[in-house]
Amino acid sequence: MSRLFLGVTLLIVAVLIVPTYLEACPACKTLDDPIGKGFNFSILFMMAMPFVVFTVISGTVFWHYRRASKEPMD
């Protein structure tokens, strides 16, 4: 619980001290047109997906093994 609290606190502090909001594409940062926004959205979305896939696969494996360890032995 304390670890979770510490993690959340660090995350909030990190967000607060970031001087400006982050852009996914440095080249598009100076562009204030829709194409730049489009690339930003797209890059952020595609950047997130490997983490989602990895989390789902590893989470499923973990869940199956955890459930098996709780089952009574024959």
Partner: protein, 197 residues
């Protein structure tokens, strides 16, 4: 494998190899669709007017596709019921649910195909600019996945007819169900992005 009192005891892994394989396959599929959705987002967010001015007159069939979406979601439910039936060792119910699911999948593809014919007649083709290109690639890629899922499902149905499944042995049903649910769950995301945004 261990030997206890001259009887071979095979330890079954908590997660079967088949399930792990299908998870990895779906991971790859997710990355494929992420790339396509990413490309769509570039064009969609990058264009102030959508569809682009060159395609102003072309309307995507939102209502019919909405009904089609409902059909596909129902097929996800019927597939899940088939999976539950074989867990209870009810092969007859499995066959029925698989048949209904396959019919719904074919219906989805049929409606999708007729929509495409209409859109091509209205002038929206793969070569008619970025709007047509991204529409047919994204929706077509999903349709190919539904088609392969339907083929897979009918193979599983054939195996069910041949009496190859029981409550202890149903790996093919298991993997086919996971794939089907993935294809079904993906569609509403594409529908909202492509048809409603």
């Amino acid at each position: 494998m261990e030997t206890q009192n001259n009887i071979d005891v095979r330890e079954r892994p908590p997660l079967s190899n088949a399930r792990l394989a299908i998870l990895v396959l779906l991971g790859a599929e997710t990355m494929l669709f992420s790339g396509l959705i990413g490309a769509f987002l570039v064009f969609r967010v990058g264009n102030v007017t959508w569809p682009p001015p060159s395609h102003i007159g072309i309307e995507l069939p939102r209502v019919v596709t909405g009904i089609n979406t409902a059909l596909l979601l129902i097929s996800g439910y019927t597939m899940f019921q088939g999976w539950r039936a074989i867990q209870k060792d009810n092969v007859q119910q499995l066959r029925n649910w698989l048949l209904i699911t396959g019919a719904l999948g074919l219906l989805f593809l049929g409606i999708q195909g007729s929509e495409w014919v209409q859109l091509i007649r209205n002038g929206l083709t793969l070569q008619s600019g970025v709007y047509g290109g991204i529409f047919y690639v994204l929706i077509g890629c999903h349709a190919v996945h539904v088609m392969s899922a339907v083929i897979w499902l009918f193979i599983v149905l054939g195996m069910a007819m041949a009496g190859r499944f029981s409550a202890e042995r149903y790996t093919s049903v298991d993997t086919c169900t996971i794939y089907w649910i993935f294809v079904v769950a993906l569609w509403p995301i594409l529908y909202v992005l492509v048809y409603l945004s």
